[in-house]
Symmetry: C2
Subunit: 589 residues, 2 copies
């Protein structure tokens, strides 16, 4: 019987995983390593014999492991936290990951590997393992220290970068080519998708979950959350992105809901179960022969990984303004790879663009670096003392001066306030423009996918198509109106501030007000026109002929002027909703 085979396989995996978790907890080693080892033991490549009969179903369950892992990471990810550690973590993460991608890519070429293998190696080496670091710091009792908070910040930024990398690699693997236009277009579409989903998700889902929590039923909450997570994965799959992205994003959205603590508690056991299956399955794919065959690359990659990560993250952290000691701690904490590398390696092998040896290499390197993580963290302080006492003052002083200079550079008082306000306005303009773009892209999508049929059925003449396009374009503009108006108003506010800064009373004399007025009346209109031209240019498919378009635009402008007030109200209500969701404090664990 089929089901019995499966139960047999499941039983073997859970039994071995259960034994392993006890042994590895007793030995105080990371359980993830144990799972990998368990996978090697029950896998097909090692004696005594193959214990798993139906590998395919188990692989499919491992896929669920990825979803729950990413969803949990998303739950722990928080837009608020990101804003807090923001710039500093961003500098460190970008510094480190770009260094690692470069190292990995060149190392691959040095080994004489194919182009795609090199790219995937670079990507695999870029992202540190949240799972491993959180556990290691927890076990060392260092979770609350300052450098740990910084590491968590870096990990959050790395998560986002990883999501981007995964999406990029998928695109790259399917198109097969590496050109900058492709990459730009992929990144652009991806960012747009993320922004729009986040906004729509944050407006609806926390509200829905708050409603569900009123029923006081754990089952209902769990099944609804799972429905949301998998439902979003479905959408993401339809758009050809990876489920990892979908699960992570839905996690991040659900993280802003009020019953977050309950949801985390409910998801935790499911995640733990499927993660165990996921890591065991990864271990099953490790062929010790391949591992021995590629021992030299594995050791070199591990070494390069640790040195590269430590140098990259320490430098990045130092540039972002930390002192040497903290920077070194951050660097040594991040020196390993884990779940994301497995996902990236898995992506390569499912898309069949990488060589078979890449997966075992990723696993072995992860195992080696994971094993060393706690020791590296513990070695950070002694090492920083040694470096500090052996570095001559001539070298030390410039570094100190940099740190102090950076601290003084930080804007304070009025100017800091001004920078903040301008940044906020720019952000709001970008968000509103993104929504407008999304509306138009949706229009293009509908026009190309669904309407083609109708047009074909109607034996569409040119005139017919003109009407059709006019309707879609008119609707798109109408739906975008609140956002366009909002962007216009924000730009006007910005223009006012800028005009006051640029045109001082001394410069303008008695014309001061007039000059300022010219700026703050014309600037927003110019910018909006530019933005709309850009949007029109990317959505040529649904635009009618220019004269018709002009008519539509004119009538919509008139409509906008009439409906100005209700639309402003609608938009600001949406905006308030969004910020309320994000600024509410949740009962986080």
């Amino acid at each position: 019987m089929h089901a019995d085979t499966f139960i047999h396989d499941m039983a073997i995996i859970m039994l071995v995983a259960g034994l392993i978790t006890i042994i590895f907890n007793k030995l105080k080693q990371p359980v993830v390593l144990g799972y990998l080892l368990a996978g090697v033991i029950i896998g097909p490549h090692t004696p005594p014999f193959e214990l798993i009969h139906d590998k395919q179903i188990i692989m499919v369950l491992a896929e669920l492991g990825v979803i729950f892992l990413m969803f949990s990471l998303g739950l722990e990810f928080s837009l608020k936290k990101l804003a807090k550690v923001g710039p500093r973590a961003f500098i460190t993460a970008v510094c480190e990951t770009s260094l690692m991608v470069t190292i990995g890519y060149n190392l691959g070429h040095w080994f004489g590997w194919q182009e795609m293998d090199c790219i995937f190696l670079g990507a695999m080496m870029a992202i540190s393992s949240t799972t491993i670091i959180v556990k290691a710091l927890g076990e060392l009792g260092m979770k609350q220290q300052k450098f740990a908070q910084l590491i968590f910040g870096v990990l959050i930024v790395e998560d986002i970068l990883a999501i981007g990398i995964i999406a990029l690699l998928s695109g790259l693997a399917t198109s097969g080519a590496v050109n900058s236009h492709e990459i730009l277009s992929t990144v652009g579409k991806l960012s747009l998708f993320i922004i729009v989903s986040l906004i729509l998700g944050l407006l609806t889902i926390p509200r829905l979950l708050a409603y569900i929590s009123k029923f006081n039923s754990h089952e209902m909450m769990l099944i609804s959350v799972l429905g949301l997570c998998f439902g979003f994965c479905l959408l993401v799959l339809a758009l050809d992105y990876s489920v990892a992205l979908g699960a992570f994003m839905m996690g991040a959205i659900v993280a802003e809901a009020r019953p977050l603590a309950l949801i985390e508690k409910l998801i935790e056991p499911i995640r733990d179960m499927f993660c165990a299956i996921f890591f065991v399955t990864i271990g099953m794919m490790l062929n010790p022969e391949v591992m021995l065959q590629y021992l030299t690359p594995i050791l070199l990659i591990s070494l390069a990984l640790m040195i590269g990560k430590i140098i990259g993250a320490t430098t990045g952290s130092f540039i972002s303004g930390q002192n040497g000691k903290t920077s070194l701690r951050v660097g040594m904490g991040l020196a390993q790879i884990g779940e994301f590398s497995f996902i990236i390696a898995g992506l390569g092998s499912t898309l069949k663009v990488t060589s078979n040896f890449l997966y075992p290499i990723a696993i072995t390197v992860s195992a080696i670096t994971t094993l060393l993580t706690p020791y590296l963290i513990k070695a950070a302080d002694p090492l920083s003392k040694i470096i500090s006492s052996h570095t001559p003052k001539v070298i030390k002083n410039p570094f100190k001066i940099y740190t102090v200079w950076l601290r003084d550079l930080h804007p304070t008082g009025d100017s800091a306030m001004l920078v903040k306000i301008i940044a906020k306005i720019v952000l709001q303009v970008i968000v509103n423009c993104a929504l407008v773009i999304a509306v138009f892209l949706a229009g293009v999508f509908i026009a190309t996918n669904f309407d083609q049929k109708i047009i074909n059925d109607a034996e569409g003449t040119l005139l017919n198509e003109q009407i059709h396009r006019s309707i879609i374009c008119g609707l798109a503009i109408f739906i975008s109106l609140p956002f366009i108006i909002a962007a216009y108003r924000k730009l006007k506010a910005l223009a006012m501030m800028l005009s006051e800064m640029w045109i001082s009373n001394q410069f303008g004399g008695k014309h001061t007000y007039k000059l300022r007025r010219i700026i703050f009346e014309s600037l927003p209109i110019i910018v909006i026109t530019l933005i709309m031209s850009f949007i029109f240019s990317i959505s040529k498919h649904i635009l009618p002929d220019p004269p018709v378009l002009l008519m539509i635009v004119t009538s919509e402008i008139i409509l906008a002027l009439i409906l100005w007030k209700p639309m402003v109200k609608l938009q600001s209500w949406l905006q308030i909703e969004l910020f309320t969701v994000m600024e509410t404090n949740h009962e986080h664990q």
Copy 2:
């Protein structure tokens, strides 16, 4: 991609289940019904189109649903609770299930169905649904009432009966024949397996889980418990029992562990998730056409089910000593079928012994009766008032007299104490004998499965085989010694009590003491000899020739006399351990 298909299917199921759980909670209907409906909608038999692509994997996941469902039921099952509600619940359950099996079996024949279909119909109708009743009573706020406690007791007994029925049906379906010897042997082996596993499990597993709980890691606890559950399922599968039995028993064993509350919390979300999949999958198998085709049998079965269950359970409850009103409430609460019926129907279709229409019938009948459960519970009190006011006193009085008579019959004071003590001793003798039988059966198992090879390799002469048998038989007796000694001592205590009761001073005169001594010295030896003869008779395979056997037995008796004290100590230590585990109070929810 294979994994994508699966994620797609999973997403559809979870999305629909999520929607359904919200809608059905809002409508205050049982969510299980919603899941079934969701299954029908996304299933292959209904328009718009088939939404699930890889049914096989989903079916396999549903199998996991059965395991987690049964494991949870096991967790809620408690040997202590069973002892408390014991006899009364037992009478009600046996009364009701035997009536239902009879009704179902005969109804099937009346429809002109095949023998196996009739048997499975009877089994399907026998067991009420714990899931549905617990939820319905919870929603009506009646969980704490006296009749609800009685219903829970009946459900516990029914769970055990169901486990027996499932094991019996599996045996019956594979052997194909219904003969009483087969049934007796199946039931005997099953009871033996259950008793031995429970004893060994209770001695080791709560201890292990208490040790694990010291690590204070949710992940470790969960994975260990899952390992235990699936590991035991593996053993059960190897012995050709159903996984439902294995999961339930492991649940019952884990329920006696100290960290029960934590384990329940960790298992709950996993159970909820897989149960949703399980019920949706069951819905998917419902073909509305078949349902319409068999509408008459479905309606008749539903009607027979409700009437039969109400009459059976009410009568049983009344016989066991409840008043009319409580009995009717118990009866009306139990009038539905659920998860066990699906498992039994599923068993029939996997073993390919039942017709295809049985599954949809089980689902539809369950849906109808589930839907009516809350109304039946609410209707119990008005109905009992109507019956009470319309029944003439001539009929009512005998019933009242019965209730009063039964209450008076209950032993009180000294005699009640005596009955309790005797029952306890008999139980201990049975448990010890079961262990001895288990040791011998293990010997038979080893001799037939593993040693055949060795004997064949050694070109075994008769002498060789004699030595072989002597070793196994000698070892089996040696391992059993502590239990035989314990049984002997308990029997002696019993014989002492009985001899004092039977031979009063008036009857024995001055020989009183001698007569009593003859009884309490000879009785235990006679009983032990009888038991051992029985055991030897079922394990002929491993017995050497009579003279050798006699030698072995004699030497072991001498050994027993020498090692008497340490063996008594060992056995009583084991017994104390067992009872400590079962009598400790856990932090149950």
